[in-house]
Assembly symmetry: C2
Homo-oligomer: 357 residues x 2
């Protein structure tokens, strides 16, 4: 069976290969936008004016994974909203706002680790809730969310477009395991799925957010005119698919299995991302910025990061034991021929703030 409409969380637990120990790349991007998010809230958030009687402020992280980045991101928002509320109500002795934070991810996300590793209740300024469910659909009641955020999530599609498994289709993706932009019809199929998914994502959030509510999104896109196979994540994914073919030769897996494996991942072009956002008329774009990712990378670092992100989906398709063998092979290949980050085309980090009208 092809790997399609299933759900694959980041690697749970807290060992060396877990997502919680391999998410500093994502954290670096979150840190980068922290001050801007804070300034935006302080200057422009108008929910508190629209709802002068507001007692509980609800923040949701859509696709939070098992931490710890999510705790950091929500605390930054709470600090800013608190300050804003305090400034506004200096003189009239209003009760302090109470905060609740909803941590959303797929039902098979490792919520146990999330709950065990969150700041203890004595140090937390918010009530903590876990919300299991796909964000490609409603996960919370209408008009219940004041600020939503999502970091590095919507590149995960709800499913792999089916044509890419079909040998008779011009969109057949051969033994590639990602949309690397080498086959035009594959790119087209992924783009169609991405556009559908973003439409559903934004429609669901539009229902969940209160008027004046903010949706803050952080992620990765590709500059117009750049191809995935020219960027380091695209190059690394193609190396992983080469290594799968290598270990197939020694019988650990088969070429047929590799042909039935494609990642439900699509990094949109900048123009595609903007198009997908603009089609939803319930939101106005308050801020849109792009930047290069500021972090210094090494081949070892990106290998560990991709292992934490991909091990669940790889294990699920190929079975136990393949992950170790595969990433040993990837490490060997990279130690002989490391990726030269200087020579790769840049992808972009985007930071967008949308306001619910």
């Amino acid at each position: 069976m092809p790997t399609s409409s299933q759900s694959y969380p980041m690697n749970g637990g807290d060992d060396q290969h877990s997502y919680i120990h391999n998410s500093s790349y994502q954290k670096s991007a979150i840190d980068g936008i922290e001050e801007k998010t804070r300034q935006y809230i302080l200057k422009k958030l108008d929910i508190l004016n629209l709802n002068p009687d507001l007692k509980t402020f609800t923040i949701v992280d859509f696709g939070c994974s098992s931490g710890p980045n999510t705790f950091h991101a929500v605390q930054n928002i709470i600090d800013a909203v608190k300050l804003k509320h305090l400034n506004k109500n200096k003189e009239n002795g209003v009760l302090p706002l109470e905060f609740q934070v909803c941590f959303n991810d797929l039902p098979n996300n490792d919520f146990n680790t999330l709950f065990k590793t969150q700041p203890p209740s004595s140090e937390r300024e918010y009530f903590s809730l876990g919300v299991p469910g796909s964000f490609y659909g409603r996960v919370l009641p209408r008009n219940s969310v004041h600020i939503g955020l999502t970091s590095y999530t919507t590149q995960w599609l709800s499913k792999v477009p089916e044509q890419v498994y079909d040998k008779k289709s011009p969109a057949w993706n051969k033994t590639y395991i990602q949309c690397n932009n080498l086959i035009e019809e594959v790119t087209k199929a992924y783009k169609v799925q991405f556009t559908k998914d973003m439409k559903i994502f934004l429609e669901a959030r539009a229902q969940e957010l209160v008027p004046g509510g903010l949706m803050i999104a952080l992620g990765q896109c590709v500059p117009d005119g750049v191809y995935m196979y020219e960027t380091w994540p695209g190059i690394l994914m193609d190396i992983i698919s080469d290594c799968l073919l290598d270990i197939a030769k020694s019988g650990v897996t088969t070429v047929e299995k590799i042909e039935l494996f494609n990642l439900p991942v699509y990094f949109p072009l900048y123009s595609e991302l903007m198009g997908a956002i603009e089609q939803n008329k319930k939101f106005t774009i308050e801020m849109m910025e792009t930047a290069s990712h500021a972090m210094q990378l090494t081949n070892d670092f990106i290998t560990s990061m991709f292992r934490a992100v991909l091990s669940t989906i790889i294990e699920n398709h190929f079975g136990d034991g393949v992950v170790d063998e595969l990433f040993d092979q990837v490490s060997k290949k990279l130690s002989k021929q490391p990726i030269d980050f200087e020579k790769c085309k840049e992808h972009m980090v985007y930071h967008v703030v949308l306001k619910r009208q």
Copy 2:
């Protein structure tokens, strides 16, 4: 170290010893009150009148464990509230209510199993949220809950009273592992802790519930004049403590370790329970019923049930491997000298409905 202010969830996962496969006793009691809860909601729930613009109805199960009883109990409430809302709004085309259900338990509860085993979102009429935190304290915002329920939970104290570990205290509990009412000072220490905990429990719920909101509680208490050592749960617990002493002889554990082990569990007398409820002036008692538990019991059944409930706390104190050995011993002892349920004094199931003024 004595086992005191820690938290010990029911046995997680879904194997033969898990709580989800050993909670039919609790389910039988929940079933017993289903129709009465339903009738009460249909006839007397007035939240919908107090909040005519209500869009989202929030139900919380405090101390839900890992399922499946909780899903059954909340569905019953949702069905009744829906019917009531429909009857009330037959003619004026009001939008249907949306429901959110918060599943609360300690942060080390097995939420992963809870989320994986809940009804799939396509069949669920509510948004599902997990709330990790001790119910002896606030876990949700002020005025945010319409109906709270709690089943077989408040006998779990926030901690064991410390005197029961102190050899010099008249409240020393020797090698007993429960409050079996054989030592008056031990009973007194447990009663003080129960009264404190119930006060905190009810104060927290009073803050979380909206005016007119209901708190439905189901649990077990002891008729005035009956002692725990005369009831089958008390007898079984004393057998478990005897068996701990037996396996200590073979070196699996030590008498010193047993002396440092006491369960944070207290089943109040009926009058103590009523006293604890009545001291909170924010609630009115709308219904209070007691009954005998209707289920036919066998020695095997109660052994499996107690194993599911106690294995985490036993393992935590005595270490790996003791649970198997201990319950083998309990089974042997019971097969030679089974508990005769006919001869035990009855304990009571209570069902109380409180309304937030």
